[in-house]
């Protein structure tokens, strides 16, 4: 009790002077309002049916019935889509995408699809150590990136190379990273598919699940402090939504009023864990309201729905300074990674059905073809050219030297410390003295 009195007096005294700053949002005066007790004479009479009480947090109504909120709604939250399974628009109320943007989106989706197939094969052939595909989630990857600007900062999990491709990261650069050669802008420090690029405003992929979610909130807060016309966006899966970091991030984003888009790729699987073993809520979209975050459920295999939803979310996030949660329903057609064989825990015909009948790339293709913006010839030209490009990139990347020895030792700190400089010198001297004991592709 004494605690609130002290704070109340502190608050009272501060009301009488102008602070020497000009805050964007006056958080402080709002803070203690809920703890100030109402004057008892304003209480409703005991016989009034609309009795309320002002516990901390605001007024709530009394009810004499003991009512538990059900653990599920009778109806699941509906899912927003623009195109039907055949690529036909369901209504006319969506943001139109120009031919140029639509064709670019489609080409990028095809690029992603082919890139994944070829790199997966390369891993199977032993040419790279690891790979994880994005098959089935091309619409989420590309359409979300298309709805953002270059100033919006991206915090990926590891199944979102699409935005990087959209922003101009080349297939050759992807190959360099997967082969960890000296042209990898990650200096060979990470496993394949752990891309990152400052230039493209895309934060380096980390293997730790959902750690990027609170990072995106912090970055969004910084963008707000700098008054930038930009938001941050973070991607994670259904599995990631179980992590503590997801919950802390949503809570904080709401309280800090941070312009961040949380995009959950609910693809049904967290390695071998189906969503029925992941959570018992109606997916991830309902968790938004629990934290005071506006949310929407979207058909993740519908490129136009994703585009519309992300664009709207971005507008809300920046102009209203609020977080937005988008749950994109989709299906992980590929295995979790090259270390997984998903036929061990799900039927092969289920995978095939989603791969063919529900392919987001084919669905979007139908829409652009119907608009007269694409045809079979363009399709085969694109696919052939991409295949050539990819095979060439892989061949080139494979034969390039690995990163130099210095790259073991630098970037640990801003300035290399003396012990590492010493060790680097010892290693170089040793290699010079005993060159036959070291592989040829180590340059000293």
């Amino acid at each position: 009790m004494w605690i609130s009195k002290t704070i109340f007096n502190h608050f009272k005294s501060r009301l009488n002077f102008t602070p020497n700053y000009a805050p964007l949002s006056l958080l402080s005066p709002r803070r203690f309002a809920s703890t100030i007790a109402q004057n008892p004479s304003t209480f409703n009479s005991i016989h009034d049916a609309n009795q309320v009480i002002d516990f901390p947090g605001g007024t709530v109504k009394f009810i004499p019935e003991m009512r538990f909120i059900s653990e599920t709604s009778p109806k699941r939250i509906p899912c927003y889509r623009v195109l039907d399974d055949d690529g036909q628009p369901l209504a006319n109320n969506f943001v139109q995408v120009s031919e140029e943007v639509a064709v670019r989106m489609y080409s990028n989706m095809v690029t992603l699809q082919i890139m994944d197939t070829i790199f997966y094969e390369a891993q199977r052939q032993g040419r790279i150590s690891f790979y994880a595909t994005t098959i089935g989630e091309e619409a989420i990857n590309i359409a979300s990136a298309a709805a953002l600007t270059r100033e919006d900062v991206i915090f990926p999990q590891y199944r979102e190379p699409g935005p990087l491709l959209w922003r101009g990261f080349t297939l050759q650069e992807i190959a360099h990273q997967c082969f960890s050669n000296k042209y990898d802008n990650g200096k060979g420090r990470q496993m394949p598919i752990h891309y990152g690029s400052n230039k493209h405003n895309y934060f380096t992929v980390a293997s730790t699940v959902a750690t990027q979610v609170p990072h995106a909130v912090g970055a969004a807060y910084s963008l707000k402090m700098d008054k930038k016309d930009a938001c941050s966006i973070t991607y994670f899966g259904d599995g990631g939504s179980s992590e503590g970091d997801f919950h802390a991030a949503l809570n904080f984003a709401a309280v800090m009023e941070a312009p961040v888009i949380f995009l959950c790729r609910n693809n049904g699987w967290a390695i071998s864990t189906p969503t029925s073993d992941q959570f018992r809520s109606d997916g991830v979209v309902v968790k938004g309201q629990a934290y005071g975050v506006r949310s929407i459920r979207v058909d993740g295999n519908d490129a136009l729905a994703i585009y519309n939803a992300v664009q709207a979310a971005r507008e809300m996030a920046i102009s209203e300074e609020r977080p937005v949660l988008i749950e994109a329903l989709t299906y992980r057609v590929g295995h979790h990674s090259t270390s997984d064989d998903s036929t061990k825990y799900r039927p092969a015909n289920e995978i095939e059905w989603w791969r063919l009948a529900r392919d987001p790339v084919a669905r979007f293709r139908k829409w652009i073809e119907r608009n007269g913006w694409w045809n079979d010839m363009a399709e085969s030209e694109l696919r052939n050219s991409l295949r050539q490009q990819l095979l060439h990139s892989i061949q080139v990347a494979e034969n390039i030297e690995k990163p130099p020895i210095e790259d073991i030792f630098n970037d640990v700190y801003d300035v290399p410390p003396s012990n590492l400089r010493e060790q680097e010198q010892w290693v170089k001297d040793t290699i010079k003295k005993h060159p036959l004991d070291y592989p040829e592709n180590i340059s000293a």
Binding site: N20, N198, F203, H215, G218, A248, A249, Y413
Partner: protein, 372 residues
């Protein structure tokens, strides 16, 4: 990346020193930390504070007193559980959240100073400290720099039990990518905290709750707003020629008291205040051991894999031939910290332990165990 910005008219958050009739000024460690935060926030608008109770409550230990009033809620962020001061247990759970957010802000270009109510709670957030902060510059090949400071009380306080008393110096100092500092005096507190905030790498800043109220003399140079201490340099607090005693944080005070007692018995002890646990100032330590030929390492934390173990190895690697006696290691007892006052006293190093160890290193006959 030291910026020497001179501020003639810095308004301290509150009176930062008492002037005596002579010109010697004294300052508590709390005032030193507060003034350092104030000056760095004033010099660089990208510096901001985050943590529980740092704002309205003026800081759980009043380290951030006055800063919310001066810089506003945009730069001094109370993290959500502020109102529930009594629910200390909840604070642990939410630590993970704001550390990740602090790291995210640092990624984008701000310079957050994140306060942990104690470093025990940092365990909840340690994945972000190590995997998101320490390793980011390396994993991103220099593209993501994380100029963040994690600060707060570390080690034993008084009567706070096992989950509030652990020392994390050895844990964090083992991780490449982090810098780990631990001040003792007010001069250390001011100079090292300023250096930590200005540093482009993530820094773990280990304070001590029991030192916050202790007063130390500070020179005019220390009080200047551009004052900064170098990271990675230890300080020789007391010169000596018979035995080297290394310590950090509160144990420096104990080591100095032990040196006084030893002096009366004819043993001249050299006391080294490490200041920087990572990088460790191996050259100062080794130079001292080459002079005295005997070493006693002191720390409050658990003995196995502790700071003393690393110092001992460094000396053996570089100055083995100079040692005239085995290295003595004083550390906390290898048990979770008990609560009862008599047991707590026995679980933490005391001045007598340091004196006995120094004597053993000097081959004076002493009983091995503490008498009751």
């Amino acid at each position: 990346m030291l910026r020497a910005i001179r501020h003639k008219n810095i308004l301290p958050a509150f009176s930062a020193f008492r002037a005596f009739s002579s010109s010697a000024k004294e300052m508590t460690v709390r005032e030193a930390l507060n003034s350092a935060l104030d000056e760095e926030m004033s010099a660089d608008p990208k510096v901001f504070l985050m943590g529980e109770e740092v704002g309205e409550y003026q800081g759980a230990y009043k380290i951030t007193k006055g800063l919310l009033d001066k810089y506003g809620p945009e730069r001094v962020l109370d993290t959500p559980i502020t109102e529930e001061m009594a629910l200390i247990c909840l604070l642990n759970i939410l630590q993970a959240g704001f550390t990740g957010i602090g790291v995210g802000a640092a990624y984008y270009g701000l310079r957050p100073v994140v306060e942990f109510m104690t470093f025990n709670f940092s365990m909840q957030a340690i994945d972000h400290i190590i995997n998101s902060a320490a390793k980011s510059n390396y994993m991103s090949a220099g593209q993501i720099s994380v100029p963040i400071v994690f600060r707060g009380p570390n080690g034993a306080a008084a009567g706070v039990g096992a989950q509030h008393s652990q020392c994390y110096a050895a844990w964090y100092a083992s991780c490449p990518g982090l810098k780990v500092l631990s001040p003792y005096s007010s001069e250390d507190a001011r100079g090292l905290l300023k250096a930590a905030i200005r540093d482009p790498d993530p820094v773990v800043f280990l304070e001590n709750e029991l030192l916050y109220g202790e007063s130390f003399p500070v020179s005019a140079e220390v009080l200047d707003s551009s004052f900064c201490l170098p990271i990675g340099k230890a300080k020789i607090e007391r010169e000596g020629k018979d035995v080297t005693i290394t310590a950090f944080s509160k144990m420096v005070g104990y080591a100095l008291k032990a040196a006084e007692i030893l002096a009366k018995e004819g043993i001249s002890a050299e006391v080294i205040n490490l200041r920087s646990i990572r990088p460790l100032d191996r050259s100062t330590i080794n130079a001292s051991v080459r002079k005295t030929n005997r070493l006693v390492t002191v720390e409050e934390g658990f003995p196995q894999h502790g700071v003393g173990a690393e110092i001992c190895t460094s000396v053996i690697e570089e100055s083995f031939g100079y040692l005239d006696a085995p290295v003595e290691r004083i550390a906390g007892a290898d048990v979770p910290m008990p609560y009862a006052a008599n047991l707590e006293r026995m679980a933490v190093p005391q001045v007598e332990d340091i004196v006995r160890a120094a004597k053993r290193a000097c081959y004076r006959s002493v009983p091995l165990a503490a008498t009751a």
